[in-house]
Subunit: 308 residues, 2 copies
Amino acid sequence: MSDLPAFDELLHDFELRKPRALARAISLAEAGRAGELVRAIYERTGRAMTMGLTGPPGVGKSTLASGLVRKARGLGKSVGVVSVDPSSPFSHGALLGDRIRLAEHFTDDEVFIRSMASRGHLGGLAGATADAVTLMDAFGFDVVLIETVGVGQSEVAIAELAQTTMVTLQPGSGDSIQVLKAGIMEIADIFVVNKADHPMAKQLQREIRSMMEMQQFTGWVPELVMTQALSGEGIDELWSAIERHNAYLNETGEIARHRRDAFTHRVRQLALGRLERRLDHALRAQTPADVDPYEAADRLLSQHFDDR
Amino acid sequence: MSDLPAFDELLHDFELRKPRALARAISLAEAGRAGELVRAIYERTGRAMTMGLTGPPGVGKSTLASGLVRKARGLGKSVGVVSVDPSSPFSHGALLGDRIRLAEHFTDDEVFIRSMASRGHLGGLAGATADAVTLMDAFGFDVVLIETVGVGQSEVAIAELAQTTMVTLQPGSGDSIQVLKAGIMEIADIFVVNKADHPMAKQLQREIRSMMEMQQFTGWVPELVMTQALSGEGIDELWSAIERHNAYLNETGEIARHRRDAFTHRVRQLALGRLERRLDHALRAQTPADVDPYEAADRLLSQHFDDR
């Protein structure tokens, strides 16, 4: 940001916890330009309890998120919500729907909800989301909830962003097979079977349990919670599971390891993004020579990246 | 390769067109160690007609591939086949099935079939596949056919590897929607509706046609071919469509643009792979400092990548 008075004003308003300053800051993150602000506020981070909610479209993530926000508010905690849908070309509609489901919290000053636009981020959606979580943490929310579509290799690595990762599955959808295939078992701290009144809910519960029996867990064993997000049933149990996991992280010191891993992941992401931009710049500037690709890559790296 | 006599012998046998030398070379590519060989043989490349066959699992790609190999052999052309399945955890079984379908060609010296193992490639599966295609081209095959699972952002960018890309779709599967969503329209030179005797085949044909009507094409307009790979029906028409596309590429000079793009893509892939390895090495060596991730990324880049 070249406009220094504007930056100072933004930082000042951010420190005064003005919601408009947070909104502006996240817009900067979406534009890949939040670096300076993140640097300025970084020492205020590390206080929020971060939780990620992931699962396939239609599973009821937004309704669950709304239930968790209500629960947190009942406990007197302030909540920031980051809602991300990296894949859907229909995300505008979906986000509108999400907003409607989260609407009861719109008039609550201690709840801030932000949908991340799905495309065209300089620095990538993953980077923008990471910055948004950092900004919400620094802003002073007690809880930061990240909601994102997808079980599987998502664009946004939710397990790096959230201390506690909830994987929501849908009865009768064959989701349990996805879990096995996509290595979800490794990222789920809590499994949520939503729509617990569905005729296939018990079967999904059994499938998850038998998959867990096949695994060797060292440390935390994922919990399984049955919910009916629409009626609010199971939200108390889900919150208790989150608190147990949080206590586990703190008691074992795992929380420090999680912070370190998340930090390294973000540094790698930032550095790699810049290297990629430099590489693409160098490739555009290159005059094609009559060489093989290995030789061309060698020359490119030695000319532009001081490769030894 | 440090073992120079072995390298010279491999190169010598490769130049004598010994199939074992090609097999060995592709194994080196899978291990991310084919660079020296690719350099040595690169000037022999650019003569093969390369074609890519992609589509979802179960669509009949291997049977189509077998039909295309038969057709090419009938025209007196030698054929190399690279079969890739980046995603499936069941690829061993699938590849075995592929091999059975392609078995009629096993005793033919002018056909070489290679399945790329699906995981654990240093330099990545995409890089190994690119090297395998280069090696087959240099080995002297008239036709190189690359078969890979998936419509969508595949790990292996088939359109960069093949001059002509065939996208195979399955009637009654909702595949046409996938095509729209995943930007397949931009990579398909030829659509293949396999299982043309399926009751929904005509409907899929109509859907593809109406999607094409919504597009503006400059230059080549994708062709649509109906096949029944099992009976061999439509293979002649498919081959004719491939030849028309090949003629189009040569007459317009587009083939040179394709070669340039593929070259740049491979150089980028090689350079980025090395930058990533350097970055990960630097990250492991880094002592965690009490800074924000942007500052940490800055330091990393200036210390290890001569960032100005």
